[in-house]
């Protein structure tokens, strides 16, 4: 369908990862321009972003390399229609209808949108345990990014601990990057996974990849343990030792059987959380999901609770990159349909295969949910003096004191202890604190840490006159 030359439809897409990028591509394929905003200098998201260092791409694993190349090819094909604003942080809505503040190169400015697609993705949950703040302890994704995109080995040796397929995939990647992986410790039980075979068969290719990783690790002599989890990290100023143990059914460590590993690195991953800061600032309706956290409510096409706003990708529920790509396309089609730029019949024709594929992939992903569901033992891991809030250095004992003094919701906890008041705005500590509060007090609804403008630290210098040099 050829767009009218005088049209001004140019949707704004927040996030250039799999969902946002594919939304832009979908718009372009139908002849429509769009504008993509991403904090990073390149699209692709944490998972498929090309390394900024030329030449590093060759050392990525074959699958990632293939995806990076395919994204680049797609972008090259549609470059004319896609305005990419990289290196740009989204600060949130500002005065004026449909206006967002952004920070780029140390300068603040604003942009207005007519249609908005929010594809902000997810991040790996932070799981506090004794010693988790020692330099050297990272998320599994963090280790991967340094190897994939940073071209650096963050450590010589490591253990990977947590739950879910990422552990296996990362173990293979990190091993191939020359890191000695001394063990992979999956807290889920093998039996729980086997019970889910029917669901897993909805993603035969992904299942094969997982089995391939297991076979690879076995061949390399890298032990993979099911039903084991993290206990503690130790070191003098930096990580030098990790303690793991078999977990009971509630994921409490059986400490008598704990094992210690002398490693300089550790990747700890206990789930992912959708990024909903912007959607909350936009005043959209949300639901609480046990796995992914606060999710913006959306209809099956990705329409959020306010007209003209669409959501797609891991930000609407962590279902992985493949689902994100499909949802990005879906949201773009919904937007075009609503804007009168696409006929209903044509829209349905394009949408049906997308929704079928999404459903299949989601069935696969959800087969892991019970296997990887976080049990209460994780809430008991921190000691008295374990930091829960990194930014404000709040220890667990301070949270216990606040609870003793009557704190029953996150906002009160924040006021009393300062959790959530630091630069990360509660991304690292919020979810643990919410679960801990519920667990310790029996309160079901502990509220939220309110999202506030600006979503990223905004220096005063950024507000100096436009075009002024520092």
């Amino acid at each position: 369908m050829t767009p009218a030359p005088s049209t001004t439809l140019c949707p704004t897409i927040i996030g250039g990862g799999p969902a946002g990028f594919h939304a832009a591509v979908q718009f372009a394929e139908l002849g429509w321009r769009s504008r993509v905003i991403d904090e990073s200098p390149a699209f692709g998201g944490a998972i498929y972003r090309a390394p900024s260092q030329p030449g590093l791409e060759q050392s990525m694993d074959a699958k990632t390399q293939g995806k990076v190349a395919s994204y680049r090819a797609l972008y090259a094909r549609h470059e004319e229609q896609i305005e990419f604003l990289g290196g740009t942080q989204l600060l949130g809505p500002v005065d004026g209808a449909k206006t967002l503040g952004i920070l780029s190169q140390g300068h603040f400015s604003s942009l207005t949108y007519d249609h908005l697609l929010v594809c902000t993705g997810c991040f790996e949950r932070a799981q506090p345990f004794p010693g988790w703040t020692l330099p050297g302890v990272m998320t599994v994704g963090g280790l991967q990014l340094l190897v994939k995109q940073g071209g650096v080995r963050p450590c010589d040796s490591a253990v990977l601990v947590g739950t879910g397929p990422l552990l296996l995939i990362a173990a293979r990647q990190l091993h191939n990057a020359g890191i000695e992986i001394q063990g992979v410790f999956e807290s889920g039980r093998r039996l729980d996974l086997l019970k889910r075979i029917p669901g897993l068969l909805h993603g035969v290719d992904l299942l094969a990849e997982g089995m391939g990783c297991l076979a690879f690790l076995r061949q390399k002599g890298i032990p993979v343990h099911f039903g084991w989890g993290i206990v503690e990290a130790r070191g003098d100023g930096e990580l030098s030792e990790v303690v793991v143990a078999p977990y009971d059914r509630q994921w409490r460590p059986i400490r008598e059987r704990a094992k210690s590993f002398q490693v300089s690195g550790a990747g700890i991953e206990y789930g992912f959380e959708s990024r909903s800061e912007l959607t909350r600032l936009l005043g959209l309706e949300h639901i609480e999901d046990e796995e992914s956290g606060s999710l913006p409510m959306s209809d099956p096409w990705g329409r959020a609770s306010k007209p003209g706003i669409y959501v797609a990708g891991d930000g609407v529920g962590v279902d992985g990159a493949q689902v994100a790509e499909l949802q990005g396309r879906l949201a773009a089609l919904a937007c075009l349909l609503d804007a009168g730029a696409l006929e209903e019949q044509e829209a349905h024709r394009l949408v049906s295969p997308l929704r079928r594929q999404i459903q299949r992939r989601q069935t696969f992903r959800r087969a892991f949910f019970d296997f990887s569901r976080r049990r209460r033992g994780l809430l008991e891991l921190p000691s008295d003096d374990t930091l829960i809030c990194r930014c404000e250095a709040v220890e667990r004992r301070q949270i216990d004191q606040a609870i003793e003094q009557g704190a029953r919701d996150l906002t009160t906890l924040k006021m009393v202890t300062r959790i959530g008041m630091g630069d990360c705005q509660g991304k690292m500590c919020g979810s643990f604190c919410a679960q801990y509060l519920r667990y310790k007090t029996g309160t079901r609804d502990v509220g939220h840490l309110s999202a506030r403008f600006p979503l990223a630290p905004l220096p005063f210098s950024a507000l100096a006159g436009q075009g002024e040099d520092r």
């Binding site: 340094l146 963050p154 990194r390």
Partner: protein
């Protein structure tokens, strides 16, 4: 003609010591390549290293060209960049 062109390098300094960084490298990758892991000192007295690697945890903050609170994992090196690790933002109290 068959060789890949060498990656451009930039002169940078880490805590006052001159070194070279590859074009397109993040400050974090550079620091790790030089064995610096404990790089972020907070005003609460903690010293952290990179945790999430993707810009959400703010545990890898360093001072870049005099500006504090720069996430090492997000900042790309540039020629002449001065990187300082373990810098508090608040001044130490003279009374203590």
């Amino acid at each position: 003609m068959d060789e890949l062109p060498p990656t451009a390098v930039h002169p940078v300094s880490i805590d006052g010591r001159q070194t070279e960084a590859a074009d397109g490298e993040t400050v974090l990758a550079l620091l790790l390549a030089h064995g610096h892991r404990a790089i972020c000192s907070t005003d609460r007295g903690q010293t952290y290293g990179a945790f999430c690697g993707m810009g959400v945890c703010y545990s890898c903050c360093v001072r870049v060209d005099g500006i504090s609170r720069q996430r090492a994992c997000q900042v790309l090196v540039s020629p002449g960049m001065q990187i300082e690790t373990r810098q508090h933002e608040l001044a130490e109290s003279p009374a203590e």
